[in-house]
């Protein structure tokens, strides 16, 4: 029986709490970006998912994602349904120095924030009941299988040697692609001020970005699953990439629009955090600088292209999380080195070009599966509950029309 480490357990539980805080942080980040008549409904998406996936993960999500494989590396079995057999003793497979329940709780927070990320794409026009059905289905049919492929030792992408330290593909690419599909399915918002609707509360968004940045230390450094040097490495690479991407985005907006955008600093930091996520425990701080700058440039361009494309991914989830997650996963195949993490694999620059191909395969498979499964879920949900609210409700605002509440007194 593996022995529990007090230090590792404390760090993993603390990290789970840090990641939990990211979802309310995301609620504020998104809430500030929408119009004032939709701020509560936007916040509610993230907050409701925090409760919803907390329960579904305990009941069936964890066993599907991390339970003993059913044989093909595609999905976990039902042995741990309702956390049956998941106890305060360590798992023999995952994080063997912490209680199995601590590992489960840490992973639960990832499962919570991933569908919450998608909500930015259909903000300001999605019917709440349809959102609930979509969230349950997506968490079960998209997140759990992908997590199993990449993070279970029996998962088929894990078996190919794919590297994803903290969820660049499992969390960000999957949700970013799903967001794009959802935006295309649900259509553009009505009453937009062209070329883009102005955020109603930038300080709220900055506060949300700050909480996301803070929580991301748990997300990435916590993924070391131990209080050790690898956690410290991931901590430093995470902060470095976020900072570099924020600096890059602000610089680009300054050159492009003539002013250093405050909002750009927040969005740039998030893009950097996304991109370093799969790489955090495999690359050096120097590589994190390059990754942060690269993702700042590419995601800024992606956001501009999105504006011109007329696809109303309301809060640029695909441009930041989809593109950023893909960039990070590929960058891992370039910059990974066993000098940082002996349990990892060398990447292209360390003489192993094959790793980049494995990463590219993983990116492609996750993107295609997420797109197809998300489309299928949206079609089925729409058969039972129309995804989009009626036009009068959208014009009145979802806070009042869907929740019967308002954020601000006139």
């Amino acid at each position: 029986m593996p022995e529990i480490s007090a230090g590792d357990t404390a760090w993993v539980l603390m990290s789970a709490a840090l990641v939990m805080l990211m979802t309310p942080g995301l609620a504020l980040f998104y809430g500030g970006l929408v119009r004032r008549k939709n701020v509560l409904s936007t916040i509610m998406h993230s907050f409701f998912i925090l409760a919803l996936v907390s329960v579904t993960w305990v009941l069936w999500g964890y066993t599907l994602a991390f339970g003993p494989d059913t044989g093909l590396g595609l999905i976990g079995g039902l042995e741990w349904l309702g956390l049956d057999g998941v106890t305060g003793e360590p798992s023999s497979v995952y994080a063997t120095t912490v209680p199995h329940l601590a590992f489960m709780a840490f992973q639960m927070m990832f499962a919570i924030i991933t569908p919450a990320l998608i909500t930015g794409a259909f903000a300001e026009r999605k019917r709440f009941k349809a959102f609930v059905l979509f969230a349950v289905a997506w968490s079960t049919l998209v997140y759990a299988p992908i997590a199993h492929w990449v993070w279970s030792p029996d998962g088929w992408l894990f078996g190919l040697g794919m590297l994803d330290f903290a969820g660049g593909t499992v969390v960000h690419l999957s949700s970013g692609v799903a967001a794009l599909v959802a935006a295309l399915f649900i259509g553009r918002r009505t009453g937009l001020i062209e070329p883009a609707t102005e955020p109603h509360d930038v300080p709220m968004t900055i506060l949300g970005a700050g909480l996301l940045w803070f929580g991301w230390f748990g997300f990435n450094a916590g993924s070391a699953l131990a209080a050790n040097g690898l956690a410290a490495t991931a901590f430093v690479t995470t902060n470095t990439a976020a900072a570099m991407a924020a600096l890059t985005w602000v610089t680009l907006s300054w050159l492009h629009r003539g002013t250093p955008s405050v909002l750009g600093a927040a969005i740039g930091a998030v893009a950097g955090l996304v991109a370093i996520t799969p790489a955090a425990g495999y690359v050096t701080p120097g590589a994190a600088v390059l990754i942060g700058m690269g993702v700042g440039v590419v995601c800024y361009g992606a956001a501009l292209l999105r504006l011109r494309s007329r696809v109303d991914d309301a809060l640029d989830v695909f441009s930041v999380h989809g593109v950023g997650g893909a960039i990070g996963a590929l960058a891992t195949g370039i910059f990974a080195t066993t000098a940082v993490n002996a349990a990892g694999v060398d990447g292209l620059l360390a003489g192993n070009p094959g790793q980049l191909l494995v990463q590219a395969l993983g990116v492609g498979v996750v993107a295609v599966y997420s797109a197809a499964a998300t489309a299928a879920i949206l079609i089925v949900v729409n058969l039972f509950v129309p995804i989009r609210v009626p036009r009068p409700a959208e014009e009145a605002g979802l806070d009042l029309a869907q929740h019967g509440e308002i954020a601000y007194q006139p």
Partner: protein, 44 residues
């Protein structure tokens, strides 16, 4: 216990499916985005 927990969640899930839309969602509202908000005390 696991079965009981699944039943509890299922009860909630069915309730979500059957829950009514907020009356204002089904009622045509003024097209203006600054529609008169419902007083919170009245809503409660």
């Amino acid at each position: 216990m696991v079965i009981a927990a699944l039943v509890c969640f299922t009860i909630l899930f069915v309730a979500w499916l059957l829950a009514p839309e907020h009356p204002r969602a089904a009622t045509p509202l003024a097209a203006a985005p600054d529609v008169e908000p419902m007083p919170l005390l009245e809503a409660a």
